[in-house]
């Protein structure tokens, strides 16, 4: 799901930096106002956790691989705005030091993996958990469902962004200039393996950790909000 450089046109990559920049500003504001001082170390730990989780590649049907991200889990623990910060920094280190995901594409990758995934997953978690609290079975199931939905929505966004490239940027004869695959190719190629395998991995990771921490460390779950106050 990490878009490398060269797949998005420079214009598209720039637009995603323009979209992500105000989101990053809101993320900083939310961390400043809402993240308790004592939880700065937790955010740091969760950022590193996400970096490591993304190293565990799982074979997918079709001969490719995928991995969970921990993005929805982080959103459940410290809120989706702080999750955006954690994911952006993990993605930034991956792009800068490990050549995983492009530097020009970092705006897009942060938007997909750092914003869309945690927010979509967190929304589903909040809707499904109802009045359940940490340690309740429903709380953990809502977390698992959030993880599943979050990674799949993000995969769909990536597929659409890649699939739009040949429509937006091509030679007069129609030859694509950047990512060469049409939407009819990118959507099934991205979404199907995530629906089957990577989504399950994210669901198990999110639900499992939420169940464990909810039982043994319920104090870690603070009341989160979607709005950076």
């Amino acid at each position: 799901m990490h878009i490398p450089d060269g797949y998005l046109s420079p214009q598209s990559a720039g637009i995603f930096y323009l979209i992500s920049a105000p989101l990053w500003a809101l993320s900083l504001r939310s961390v400043r106002r809402r993240l308790h001082q004592r939880r700065v170390a937790l955010l740091s730990l969760l950022s590193a956790f996400s970096f490591l989780v993304m190293m565990f590649n799982i074979p997918l049907p079709g001969g490719t691989t995928g991995h969970a991200t921990g993005g929805v889990l982080i959103a459940i623990l410290v809120g989706p705005w702080a999750a955006l910060m954690a994911m952006t920094l993990a993605l930034g280190v991956q792009a800068l030091f490990f050549g995983d995901g492009g530097l020009l594409a970092l705006g897009a990758n942060a938007f997909n993996i750092g914003f869309v995934m945690p927010f979509a997953g967190y929304l589903v978690f909040r809707l499904l958990k109802g009045a359940a609290g940490p340690g309740d079975r429903r709380f953990a199931i809502a977390g698992a469902a959030g993880g599943y939905v979050g990674i799949n929505v993000a995969a769909l966004f990536v597929a659409i962004e890649l699939g739009l490239q040949p429509i937006l940027h091509h030679l007069p004869d129609g030859t694509p200039l950047y990512a060469p695959f049409a939407l009819g190719v990118t959507i099934p190629a991205m979404v199907l393996p995530h629906l089957v395998i990577a989504g399950a991995a994210e669901a198990i990771l999110t639900g499992g950790v939420v169940a464990f921490l909810g039982t043994y460390h319920p104090e870690l779950f603070e009341k989160g909000s979607l709005t950076p106050r």
Binding site: H2, I3, P4, D5, G6, Y7, S9, L28, V31, R32, L35, Q37, R38, V40, L42, L43, S44, L45, L46, S47, A48, F49, F51, L52, V53, M55, F56, N57, I58, P59, L60, G62, G63, T64, T65, G66, A82, L89, A90, G92, V93, Q94, L96, F97, F98, G99, D100, L104, L162, H169, L171, T175, L177, Y178, A179, P180, F181, T186, A189, M190
Partner: protein, 106 residues
């Protein structure tokens, strides 16, 4: 240290990362130019141009220079890359969150 058990879990994850790179093949749509040619039949012009002149990161593919020969060395290299990457991420996140909260690191 705050969240001591959590950091221990991270260390355990880092030591297990060699298991994460066993899976054959890369992610769909994350190929290098050779991979694009293989999957699309050609390398789009803009794609070639925008990757020209870029050098591969020394730690690309989560390998460490000098630790890339043989099964054992590769595994060790992956663990070193994992600890480096996770450590750098944690430090930057700590600094950014700290500065956001206090306007300074100390």
């Amino acid at each position: 240290m705050k969240y001591r058990k959590g950091w221990i879990v991270l260390l355990a994850l880092a030591i297990l990362t060699p298991l994460g790179i066993i899976a054959a093949g890369g992610a769909w749509g994350e190929w290098d130019l050779d991979g694009v040619k293989e999957h699309a039949g050609f390398v789009p012009e803009g794609m070639r141009a925008s990757t020209e002149g870029t050098t591969e990161s020394p730690l690309a593919e989560y390998t460490v220079p000098g630790l890339d020969k043989g099964f054992f060395h590769q595994g060790l290299g992956t663990i070193v890359a994992a600890i480096l990457g996770a450590g750098i991420t944690a430090l930057i996140a700590f600094a950014v969150a700290r500065i956001a909260k206090h306007g300074g690191i100390s």
